[in-house]
Structures are given as structure tokens and as C-alpha cells.
């Protein structure tokens, strides 16, 4: 055995070792990642309820989806989660990070208060938020509104407010992560940039606009993409918080992933559900490609 092994050159030995190290992972990636990916595309061309026979129907699932009014509503809901959630959370996170960075006294303590929500389980916190949104006399938000003489709001039970009431806890939970990344980004900017600007007599605003923000561009792109993808895939909060039925009232809070879940595991329309996952995949792919393109321009 040793004799046989010694016939190889050092370079060959290293290559063999490398493939040995990669053997188990490659089996994993092929069976648990790549094969299922192709299977998702394949199932999206079938009419299949998991138990009965598979029937190839080509692109019919996609045609049905695009003809379905609910799909367009759900797609628009999904986009709303990202379109509103991303800028709002990024703006709040940046303002807090920018000022928190200026503070030495109790810095870690205050940062911890903002970060702790990131460690919570969405499903567990959903109960707390649902309680906060209750009508009087139980609900805390409505109690607070009543102090100012503002009439009761329906929050989760409303077709117009439901989506934003579900978005709020998602923004709340993600804020800590965004703040920490922003602070890391601000601290990575060389001090000399700021010193030079101060010597040139630049004011705080000018420094923010002409030095801090441009230098943070990679951080901003990174966070935008990560949170866009996060909001486009929102599920936990909606599943556990929405009123009437999951995604209610009247589907007004239902995102794409919940629609996928219902088609696949409530109605067992696996073909239709798979076609929806392919659509989700394409949307996320576009987001990732935009990121790559923006990052390339950077360098």
C-alpha cells in the first residue's frame, strides 16, 4: 500500500488528498442542493398531488399562475414588504449607527439594547406583537393612541394596515444586525479621511455627504441586498401573525412564500407550488445579479 502511494508525485498526492477531503461534501452538494434544484424545475412542469400519477403538462402551471389574480396580489404584497421594509429599516439603522458611533460612554450597553431583538425567534415574538395590536382594552398600541385621543386602529385586522403591522416586527428584529454592520463599515473608513476634511474646514454634513456615505457604498449595497432578499422571503411573521387565516385578511398580507407553502402542503398542488418557487428563484437571482453588477462597478 505504502509502495503504491509512493509512486505518485507530491503534486499528485496533494490532488488525491484534496479530492478525498471533498468527497463527502460533494456527495452532499450534489444530492441535497443540485439534484433538488433540477427536480424543482422538473416538478414545475407536472400536474401532481404527491400520491397520484405524475402528469407532464409543460408550461401550463406557469400559464395558470399568470392568469391568477391572487398571484399578482401576492407578488405585489411581496414587493411591498421589500420596497417599504428595506429603505425604512436601512434609514433607521444608519441614523442610529451614525450617532451611536460617536458615543463612548455606555456604547456597548446601548448597542446591546438595539441588537437583542435580532436574537429573538420570530414565531415567539409574534405572540407579543399580536397582543400589542389587540383592540382596547387589551392592546397596548391602542391604549397609547387613546391617551392622545386618537381613535382605535384595527392594525392586523385591516386590509390596508395588516401588511405594515406585520412588517414592523420584521424591521424591528433586523435592525440590530444592520446597525452593527453599519458601525463596522463606518469604523473601517481610514481616520485620515476625516482629519483631512476637518483641516480643510468641512462641516459635519459635508463630511457625511462627501466622505462617510461614499465610503460606505459597499456596506450599503451588501445590506440592501441581504435585507431585500430577507423581505422578499418573509414567511414566519405572516404565518404566525396575520388575522383570520394565514395571509389574511383577504390575502392582503400574503407573500409569495406563504402562497408556495399553501399550494404545496395544504392543497398538495406540487407542480403549481414548484412553478412559484422557480418564479421566486428568478426574482432573487435578479437581485443578486444587480448586486454583482453594482459591486463590479465599484472596483
Amino acid at each position: 500500500m505504502a509502495n503504491f502511494w509512493n509512486k505518485f508525485t507530491i503534486k499528485q498526492k496533494l490532488a488525491i488528498t484534496a479530492w478525498l477531503f471533498l468527497a463527502v461534501p460533494l456527495v452532499f452538494y450534489i444530492t441535497i442542493r443540485f439534484y433538488p434544484t433540477f427536480e424543482a424545475f422538473y416538478v414545475s412542469t407536472l400536474k401532481w398531488n404527491l400520491l397520484g400519477a405524475k402528469k407532464a403538462i409543460g408550461m401550463k402551471n406557469y400559464i395558470k399562475i399568470f392568469a391568477d389574480e391572487d398571484f399578482w396580489l401576492v407578488l405585489w404584497n411581496t414587493i411591498k414588504y421589500a420596497l417599504v421594509g428595506v429603505p425604512v429599516s436601512m434609514l433607521i439603522a444608519f441614523v442610529i449607527a451614525y450617532w451611536l458611533n460617536e458615543i463612548d460612554f455606555g456604547h456597548d450597553f446601548i448597542r446591546a439594547m438595539y441588537f437583542i431583538p435580532f436574537l429573538t425567534t420570530a414565531v415567539a415574538m409574534a405572540w407579543v406583537w399580536r397582543w400589542f395590536y389587540q383592540p382596547l382594552p387589551i392592546g397596548y398600541f391602542n391604549t397609547m393612541l387613546s391617551w392622545f385621543g386618537i381613535p382605535q386602529q384595527p392594525f392586523l385586522r385591516s386590509v390596508t394596515q395588516g401588511l405594515y403591522s406585520i412588517m414592523a416586527p420584521a424591521v424591528w428584529a433586523g435592525l440590530g444586525f444592520q446597525i452593527v454592520i453599519f458601525i463596522a463599515g463606518i469604523r473601517a473608513i481610514p481616520r485620515s479621511y476625516f482629519e483631512a476634511a476637518e483641516i480643510d474646514g468641512a462641516g459635519r454634513r459635508q463630511i457625511l455627504r462627501e466622505i462617510t456615505l461614499p465610503a460606505l457604498k459597499p456596506t450599503i449595497i451588501f445590506l440592501t441586498v441581504v435585507s431585500t432578499i430577507g423581505f422578499l422571503r418573509i414567511f414566519d411573521q405572516v404565518y404566525t401573525m396575520s388575522a383570520d387565516s394565514a395571509g389574511g385578511p383577504l390575502n392582503s398580507t400574503k407573500p409569495l412564500v406563504l402562497m408556495i407553502y399553501e399550494f404545496a402542503f395544504d392543497e398538495f398542488k406540487l407542480g403549481r407550488a414548484s412553478a412559484l418557487t422557480v418564479i421566486l428563484f428568478l426574482i432573487l437571482l435578479v437581485v443578486s445579479l444587480v448586486q454583482l453588477w453594482l459591486m463590479r462597478k465599484q472596483k
Binding site: L50, I103, I110, T121, V123, Y239
Partner: protein, 282 residues
């Protein structure tokens, strides 16, 4: 020793503006933790007291905790979550760093293709794979098993990429020297390279463990038997059972949050640094 200059600088900065700023940030922080404080406070309240606005309960009680631990399967779910998350994190630490190291430090034909292939899995959303994973779990009998919950996350493209970045910054001479001393390749990785990337490993461990602890959609799909539920699935199942007993639900939510919170409070500096590290490199 008192650093006079630093103290002076600090005093100088403590102008009224700074005090106002500090207070505003502090109040914002209080708003952030209100839901959590509220949840914790309610878990010590009796049923009659629940709807009162006070934070501190009049007659604090542990009855809700006793009820949750005795009357529900909460302990079981806790152990399920702990076991799945630990197993999965151990696997990710081992395999992601093994693959990351191989891709960073071995020169062999096909290295680039393997790297691109693994990196490309980052583009595939979990939701797309859930249906095939479910079909797979059904045909292999993985429904309602720990393996069924854990198998999709045993290796990750993100972790592999992160570890590769860190291993690339290790000097090649170190590895060459160990090779000349007759160390096996596995021993070089495990005993020389691994100890040098512990910060990266701990960042990866924290991320992966937290992700697993809070994961919802896949455990929800792959488990039907309440004995196998993870904590999030178990808490979501309260929906029908204890609908309006808010103090009970708050207690369960509190128990679910406690472990991650404790770990964070103990290792705050470490965890924040890890997240900054992963965020900047990743």
C-alpha cells in the same frame, strides 16, 4: 494609572449636545427592548393581572413556568431544538472549514469549478428546495426524525466561502513546514490551520446556531409528531390550544428567547466582533 488625556478628551466631548444625543439613543434602545421586557414581565403575572399596564407584577408568580414545563411538551421541544442545532452546527464547522481549507490551500485541477459550484448554491433559495426535500424525506422515512430536520443544513455555501477567505490569509510556509516535518494533511488542517481561524469559526458557529434555533418553515413541514417539534414549531402550535391565555404564551416565548439572550449577554463583545467579521468578509 489614569490616562489624563483620555479623561480630558472625554470630558470635553461631554457637551450638552452629547448628553441629549445619549439620552435619545438610550430612549430608542428602551423602545427596542420593550416587547421583550413586556414578555418577561407578563410571564411572572397571574391570569387576573395580565391586562394591567404595569411592568412589575403585583404578585409575582412562577406558576406559568411550572404550568408550561409540566403541562406542555416545552422541555421536549427545547431539547429537540438544542440537539438539532448542536448537531447541525458541529457538522457545518467541520465540513465548511474542511472544504474552505481544501479550496484555499490545495492546488489541484478542478478547484475553481468546485468553488464556483459551491458558491452558486448561495443563489438557490431554500424555498425552492423544500418541495424536493419533502419528497426525499417521504421516500426515505425522514419525516418526524431529527435527521429529517437537520439534513438540509449540514453544510453551507456561506460558511465554506467565509472559511476559505480566512484560510487564504494563512501563510503557505506554515503548511509547507509542517509537511516537511512529516505531518499528515489532515493533521495540518486540524491541528495547525484550524486553531488559527477560531474567530471565524466562532462567528460561523453563532450564525448557524442562531439560524437553526429560530428556523421555522422547514421544521414545520418535516414534523407532524409533537414529540419531534422544535421550539418555533411548538410555539406556533399553541395557536389553537391556549389561544387567549396570554400569560402562558408569553412564558413559552420567554423560555424560547432565554437561551440565545443568555449566550449573548455572556459573550457580547465576541459575538458582535464575529458578526462584523462575517459581514465585512462575506
Amino acid at each position: 494609572m489614569i490616562d489624563v488625556n483620555a479623561t480630558m478628551a472625554r470630558l470635553e466631548r461631554a457637551r450638552p449636545g452629547t448628553v441629549i444625543l445619549w439620552t435619545l439613543l438610550f430612549l430608542g434602545g428602551v423602545v427596542m427592548i420593550t416587547p421583550i421586557v413586556f414578555m418577561a414581565a407578563t410571564s411572572f403575572k397571574t391570569g387576573q393581572e395580565v391586562y394591567e399596564l404595569s411592568i412589575i407584577p403585583d404578585k409575582p408568580t412562577l406558576a406559568n413556568y411550572v404550568f408550561i414545563l409540566q403541562e406542555s411538551k416545552f422541555m421536549r421541544w427545547m431539547l429537540n431544538s438544542l440537539w438539532v442545532a448542536t448537531f447541525s452546527t458541529a457538522s457545518v464547522l467541520f465540513f465548511d472549514s474542511l472544504v474552505g481549507y481544501t479550496l484555499a490551500k490545495f492546488d489541484f485541477r478542478g478547484r475553481h469549478i468546485v468553488f464556483i459550484a459551491i458558491l452558486s448554491t448561495l443563489m438557490i433559495p431554500t424555498e425552492m428546495l423544500i418541495i424536493p426535500w419533502y419528497m426525499m424525506s417521504r421516500s426515505f422515512g425522514w419525516i418526524d426524525t431529527y435527521w429529517g430536520i437537520a439534513f438540509p443544513g449540514l453544510m453551507t455555501g456561506f460558511g465554506t466561502f467565509l472559511m476559505r477567505q480566512f484560510f487564504m490569509s494563512l501563510p503557505d510556509e506554515l503548511i509547507e513546514a509542517a509537511r516537511i516535518d512529516g505531518w499528515s494533511e489532515f493533521a495540518i488542517w486540524w491541528r495547525i490551520a484550524m486553531p488559527l481561524v477560531i474567530p471565524a469559526l466562532s462567528a460561523l458557529a453563532i450564525f448557524h446556531f442562531l439560524g437553526n434555533w429560530t428556523a421555522f418553515i422547514w421544521p414545520l413541514i418535516v414534523t407532524n409528531d409533537p414529540d419531534i417539534y422544535t421550539i418555533p414549531v411548538g410555539i406556533a402550535s399553541f395557536n389553537g390550544e391556549f389561544q387567549m391565555d396570554w400569560e402562558i404564551v408569553m412564558t413559552a416565548s420567554c423560555l424560547a428567547t432565554l437561551p440565545t439572550l443568555l449566550v449573548f449577554l455572556l459573550l457580547q463583545k465576541f459575538i458582535i466582533r464575529g458578526i462584523m467579521l462575517a459581514g465585512l468578509k462575506g
